[in-house]
């Protein structure tokens, strides 16, 4: 192998090792989202600075580790709210959010309605699916009826989509 080729191979091996480290961070967020995680602690565990981790993570996954963590929490919160027996505040703390304000803001951005409205809508749909489905017709992110859907598909369709906040009417251009 000539030197240039060898160097290229070494750079690529390093890149794969870096990506695998980012994967471990992402998996840790998936596993421990309910813990009081922060980017500094996540970065320390993989021997990176917080800034470097955030930049690398965003380059690999299209969003920062903090955004990914919040998306994961909101996803789980939506699932818990659908159950109907937990309050918004209870759910907020159960998914690891320390601030009800931040939780409500991010939930509304991702899902298109506040956690309280989501909870009420889910309850209405549980009581009368046809009525609920009609009411939620245009809101792609309204509580979906997933009964009968294969679990892996249900997981995908009910997952808040990163970087695709629910639209809430017209937005000003500037």
């Amino acid at each position: 192998m000539c030197q240039a080729e060898w160097r290229r191979a070494r750079v690529q091996a390093q890149r794969l090792a870096d990506l695998a480290r980012l994967r471990r961070v992402r998996d840790r967020i998936d596993r421990e989202y309910a813990q009081p995680l922060n980017v500094e602690a996540l970065a320390r565990d993989v021997n990176m600075s917080a800034g470097h981790l955030s930049r690398q993570f965003r380059a690999a996954y299209g969003e920062s580790p903090y955004a990914y963590l919040m998306t994961r929490r909101i996803e789980r919160a939506a699932a818990l709210l659908r159950r109907g027996d937990l309050s918004v505040t209870e759910v907020c703390f159960m998914v690891g959010c320390a601030s009800l304000g931040t939780f409500t803001t991010r939930f509304t951005e991702l899902v298109g309605m506040s956690p309280g409205a989501f909870r009420r809508r889910a309850a209405a749909m549980a009581a009368d699916p046809a009525d609920g489905a009609h009411a939620a017709h245009d809101a792609a992110s309204a509580p979906l009826t997933v009964e009968g859907m294969p679990a892996c598909v249900a997981k995908q369709v009910t997952r808040p989509v990163r970087n695709r906040e629910a639209t809430t009417g017209e937005r000003p251009l500037a």
Partner: protein
């Protein structure tokens, strides 16, 4: 027609590491093992269920895959967005305990999902997501 799902494949980047995971951690039997070095095709499957197998295969081995595509695939494997599989077991908790006792990366503890299932998830050594669902 009488068609069964006979085999599906998952990529490996270190055949011995993947073999050790599926054989020693998940307890699968090895049904065949051909090739050498990184170019190894290993067939594994659950003992007593010969109808379904997983082929652990080198990624992008098709000569029609370009160098750029190969790089994309290996990068997706490393970042964990490429291969995945869904397995099932009647005793999820015992399976989870056994798998996590080793140095396997855990992605999700056994969790009751809102869509009516209970499952957990791991990474195999090649970065594939291995989700295990409880049979009930």
């Amino acid at each position: 027609m009488d068609i069964t799902i006979h085999m599906t494949s998952l990529p490996h980047d270190d055949p011995d590491a993947s073999l050790a995971f599926y054989r020693d951690v998940l307890g699968f039997e090895v049904r065949s093992d051909v090739g050498q070095g990184r170019m190894r095709w290993i067939t594994v499957g659950p003992v007593g269920r010969p109808d379904t197998s997983i082929l652990l295969a080198p990624p992008a081995a098709d000569p029609g895959v370009t160098e750029e595509e190969r790089r994309t695939i290996t990068e997706m494997m490393a970042k964990g967005t490429y291969g995945w599989i869904l397995l099932a077991t009647p005793d999820l908790d015992a399976t989870f305990e056994k798998v996590q006792a080793g140095d396997t990366e855990v992605v999700q503890e056994p969790t009751e999902q809102p869509y009516g299932i209970r499952d957990c998830a791991f990474r195999d050594p090649a970065g594939n997501l291995v989700r295990i669902q409880e049979l009930r």
